[in-house]
Symmetry: C2
Subunit: 255 residues, 2 copies
DNA sequence: CGGCTTCGTATTGTCGGACAAACAGACGGT
DNA sequence: ACCGTCTGTTTGTCCGACAATACGAAGCCG
């Protein structure tokens, strides 16, 4: 039988409420920062019960388009990158992506980031990276701190690249892959010093605005991660494990 | 004044309900596909009112962790890539990212994708790309169809790369950037044939499993997009316009 | 005996109303 | 100008109710 009718979808009222409000925001008729009407007002506008309005609001609340300030009042809002990235990380985790997939993606994104950063980095950003480097040098014997500094280092570079799309694209992968350095370093005496050297070289390349060198060193650095990962007895083709995912947030607090 | 106390956050009950369920899913205690208890059961377990439970469920529903099948019953679910990508696109749109940011990111991700695809593409995937190519050739005078085929072409390559992380990373950017080809081609007589040539070359490189050639041609292809964009009188540093965003979905239907 | 229909029950979607807590803004006192 | 108080508003939570729909079991017919 031919497809005579297109599929009819009877969405519940709360969904329609959410869609209507979302449309207002996406189309720009409600500016970010502007207040959404009170529940009572929405009840009147939509002609539905307050419970229904509230359920619709909950749908949007999670998507980041709506935010509550201290007073619990609702404002239209720009979705926060950190929240989005965390959400994507969780999705990748649930889909059981492999470390190989993370590795390949990280390679592409980090190299692209550092090459752009070499062109655009500002003195304060360079200074921030130097600070990170100093702290890294002081924490060579603490894998936990080292792993956090490593994450920060790459985030700083991404920021210096001056590209928010690239920044958002790399963040979820970064959240999943960098925590593993902690485990890698716990059984690798030479690992920390190799990390420090790579970071130093990257900093130098950035300071010299040497796009080419920055890219090459980043590539080596990421390859080094893979080698360390394999040396730690892990297989690239195993799915990301939940164990590492301390930092994946749920409702503002750690999982 | 020093930060003496850490910020105290009193989350509403519906938020706690949502967090609790989310934790169950993320930790694996509830498997994807498994049913979430009925509202009545959750009311009993959490000791809160049904309205509260429902609001909590709405929070999760939007995040894709929970899905309703035809019967409206709730199942734990893996977040859909398409939905996530669409959501990210919308966020980028609201943040008014520039075409330059999209361009740079696309360059990195598409080149990486095609290089991997050259190694891993399977005969059926190659065939799908050949089909796309044939349809492209038949639609050279219709910018609208051409733009859709272009989007599909690159999605096929990303799929052939066999990397879900990379695939998800490029999807949001792709959703924003490829629709512009329609506008570009409307004033560019030679554009469509250039697109076809690039796609043909890419297909040939993939068929030959030539990683290097595939990367080079993709790079040229993306640069070509930029040139066309500028030739159409547009500035790379302008924010993405909502006008192009027909395909950004809200609640299952187009915006 | 198997397939189909029918009917009762379970579950969700929506509604109405109610109340406590927290907040914003106005008011008045010092 | 600063401080505390008061009041109306807004949100969070609860209770109860009912219609629509889906599911599952019982019954019917071939």
């Amino acid at each position: 039988m031919a497809e005579r009718f297109e599929r009819i979808q009877a969405s519940p009222a709360y969904q329609l409420v959410a869609d209507a409000i979302e449309r207002e925001i996406l189309s720009g008729r409600i500016q970010p920062g502007e207040r959404i009407g009170t529940e009572a007002a929405l009840v009147e506008q939509f002609g539905v019960n307050r419970s229904t309005v509230r359920e619709g609001i909950r749908l949007l609340e999670q998507s980041g388009l709506i935010r509550r300030d201290s007073s619990r009042r609702l404002y239209a809002s720009l979705p926060r990158y950190a929240k989005l990235a965390s959400r994507i990380s969780r999705a990748l985790l649930l889909h059981e992506v492999t470390f190989r997939e993370l590795y390949e993606t990280t390679m592409a994104l980090e190299v692209a980031s550092v090459r752009l950063a070499a062109e655009r980095i500002t003195p304060p950003q360079l200074q921030a990276i130097a600070d990170n480097l100093a702290r890294t040098e002081a924490a060579l014997d603490d894998p936990r701190i080292l792993s956090e500094l490593d994450t920060e280092f790459h985030a700083l570079i991404a920021e210096a690249a001056g590209n928010r799309v690239l920044q958002l694209a790399r963040e979820p992968t970064s959240l999943l892959i960098y925590p593993t350095t902690q485990v890698i370093f716990e059984g690798s005496p030479r690992g920390p010093s190799r990390l420090l050297e790579a970071h130093s070289r990257l900093h130098a390349a950035l300071a010299a605005r040497d796009r080419q060198a920055a890219g090459v060193w980043m590539e080596r650095h990421v390859v080094d991660w893979r080698k360390g990962f394999e040396r730690a007895g892990k297989d690239l083709d195993t799915p990301v494990e939940r164990v590492y995912m301390d930092h994946v947030m749920v409702g503002g607090s750690r999982l």
